[in-house]
């Protein structure tokens, strides 16, 4: 990243003793989440209804899915600003396929393959040509969404098959939506990959010191390439969900999602400089962002004002531990 990184260390063991768990980032997030939950249930009588709570989950599941892959990417010291543009391009391709008469399975496949392809394109540019990912993905962000604009202009694709609506609107059981189930499954999978496999350890190692990782026999380029592909893949999946939920495609779909996804990841305690972070934190941050937007929505607060709260939350949650440490350190 562009800033001078702070000194870091890799712990030998990921499991923390109880005392440090109490003061961890995740604990802070749990407190924030519980506080917002409590405020919400006092502020609006409609909040504690299971159907409202189910609606709430739609606020973060799609972005959360991308946030998991983005968390791994940011931990490895890279970033992908093109995720929302990948959603737009994948959605446009699915729209084209619908016009050509494609069925639901083909649509899902197209969404996922386009996402994966875009991710691989980013990955190739970054790892093969050694370019800074922030610039590459600013470029591909314009390129991917630009292609969607060239194809669609000011038009929109509609007429998705009825069975396609399940992914974004369907419920698996009672009020538990398909999107929520997918989010939870992805959370478990990404938690396992990052915290319980050697692949995850390598991701941390690369983020802490890519040169040392390289000399330790970690294939830095290949792992980063895989992470870009994963981020593209998750964006493709999110594209299927969003397109299915909205039932139409415009080239401006999911505009600005990239910054919300990154906010989610950073709020979740992932160091923007790489090398540190956890999936649990990202899950909690996703819940918090969903709670804030939904709770304020129930109180008829406009979306743009909610974004102030998200922005403040991001800065305060990151500044708090720093200020706290200073005060205790007597500086």
């Amino acid at each position: 990243m562009t800033d001078v990184p702070a000194p870091r260390h890799i712990p030998d063991r990921l499991d923390k003793p109880f005392s440090s768990a109490v003061f961890s980032w995740e604990a802070l997030l749990v407190v924030v989440a519980v506080a917002i939950f409590a405020i919400n249930s006092f502020a609006s009588p409609y909040f504690l209804d299971p159907y409202s709570l189910s609606d709430l989950t739609f606020n973060f599941t799609e972005k959360g899915l991308i946030a998991f892959a983005m968390a791994l990417l940011i931990i490895s010291g890279e970033i992908d600003l093109s995720v929302a543009a990948i959603i737009a391009l994948a959605s446009t391709m699915m729209g084209m396929a619908v016009q050509a008469g494609a069925g639901t399975p083909v649509l899902v496949l197209i969404g996922i393959v386009v996402g994966l392809g875009c991710g691989a394109f980013n990955g190739l540019l970054v790892t093969r040509l050694g370019l800074p990912s922030i610039v590459v993905t600013i470029g591909t962000m314009s390129l991917f969404r630009g292609i969607a604009f060239i194809i669609l202009g000011d038009q929109a694709y509609k007429g998705y098959p009825e069975s396609f609506a399940f992914f974004g609107q369907g419920y698996v059981w009672w009020v538990v939506s398909f999107e929520l189930v997918l989010f939870l499954i992805a959370a478990v999978v990404y938690w396992f990959v990052l915290h319980r496999t050697s692949f995850g350890r390598r991701v941390f190692a690369i983020g802490n010191n890519p040169v040392a990782a390289q000399f330790s026999g970690v294939r830095v380029g290949r792992i980063k390439f895989i992470l870009f592909c994963l981020t593209g893949l998750m964006s493709g999946i999110a594209s299927v969900l969003i397109t299915s939920r909205l039932g139409s495609t415009r080239p401006s779909i999911a505009q600005g999602y990239e910054l919300e996804v990154i906010t989610m990841v950073v709020l979740g305690g992932v160091s923007i400089l790489g090398g540190a972070g956890s999936i649990l934190g990202v899950v909690l941050a996703a819940f918090i962002m969903g709670l804030v937007t939904f709770g304020l929505g129930l109180l008829n607060v406009p979306g743009i004002v909610m974004s102030i709260f998200i922005g403040l939350l991001l800065i305060i949650v990151i500044a708090l531990p720093i200020v706290w440490r200073r005060l205790r350190g007597g500086r």
Partner: protein
């Protein structure tokens, strides 16, 4: 190094000349001096913004909040003008500069005092400043009919046959040129980007310089706020939404390294002009404006591929780790 930098800008200039040449094969009037002056005027705001972003990027930081700052400050001056049309325009410009400066100083303080990475700080203030625009305006627009004739006319007035807006751009370019090449602050900004650790040993206050840099980008954002609103004569929450990435794109095309320390005033100006020429040319050569986004995206990727060849990637990473110790 210096000759290398010049080399890079000459290539960009050549690319722009070729671009203009290609466009004039389809539409000969494009290369007319009158039209080129118009293109320069249309690109003025982007050039000014790119210069403000450049000083930030040179110090290995980034300011994602510039477009939101522009939106907020623009709304402030537009509302002031609508409520008190008697306030003279120069005073409004000063107010815009001060409001922008305050917003920039908030970014700068968070980066300097709390050591939060600039990308995180400005990601937060990006949404906060735009949200604050909604709060002060109540979501309402300020339309052309509420603005005073002076407010709209100031930048359009011709001075020596060239609009005031272009003159402001020329003035800002000149100021930045002096700042970057003739002052100690300019040298410090480059030094921090090339090697922060060595800068500390050389007696440069890295944190304070970063603070100043964010104040500069904030003032630029504020100034552009007035210029933008009086140019497009509408102030709303949606003004310049997503424009922060266009500003960074102009810098990247202009050869400013996102890793800091490399870049020049000429590069930022040419990078902005490149994007400005494309957006001006597409309608006249009958290409749908919907192509613009994909073209500038390709230009960014191409620019970074070409620029990266000169940068010593591996050396940089090792240097960064030394600083961390």
């Amino acid at each position: 190094m210096k000759t290398f930098l010049k080399y890079r800008e000459i290539w960009l200039l050549a690319a722009i000349v070729v671009l203009i040449g290609l466009i004039s094969t389809r539409f000969p009037a494009f290369a007319d001096p009158g039209n080129l002056r118009q293109v320069f005027n249309d690109t003025s705001i982007l050039m000014i913004l790119a210069l403000g972003q450049m000083v930030v990027i040179l110090t290995r930081s980034i300011d994602l909040s510039m477009a939101s700052n522009l939106c907020f400050t623009g709304m402030v001056v537009a509302m002031l003008n609508a409520a008190h049309p008697a306030i003279p325009i120069p005073l409004l410009i000063v107010i815009a500069l001060v409001v922008g400066l305050v917003l920039g100083a908030i970014n700068g303080l968070l980066v300097w005092r709390l050591n939060i990475p600039s990308i995180v700080v400005t990601l937060g203030t990006l949404t906060i400043y735009r949200g604050a625009t909604f709060v002060i305006s109540g979501g309402a627009w300020v339309n052309a009919d509420k603005m005073s004739p002076d407010f709209i006319g100031f930048q359009r007035a011709a001075f020596l046959g060239i609009p005031v807006l272009s003159w402001i751009a020329v003035l800002v370019i000149a100021l930045f040129f002096v700042l970057m090449t003739r002052t100690a602050l300019g040298r410090s900004i480059y030094a921090i980007g090339v090697n922060p650790t060595a800068s500390v040993y050389a007696g440069i206050d890295v944190g304070r310089t970063k603070f100043i840099v964010f104040c500069i980008s904030g003032m630029i954002g504020g100034l552009s706020g007035y210029l933008w609103i009086s140019r497009y004569v509408i102030a709303s929450v949606e003004v310049a939404n997503g424009y922060e990435l266009n500003i960074i794109a102009a810098c990247v095309i202009g050869g400013i390294s996102i890793a800091g320390g490399i870049g020049s005033v000429g590069g930022a100006v040419l990078g902005a002009l490149f994007l400005g020429i494309i957006s001006n040319a597409l309608p006249v050569i009958n290409i749908s404006p919907f192509w613009q986004m994909a073209i500038s995206g390709s230009a960014i990727i191409l620019a970074v591929v070409l620029n990266a060849r000169g940068e010593r990637q591996q050396g940089r990473i090792i240097l960064r780790k030394v600083e961390a110790a």
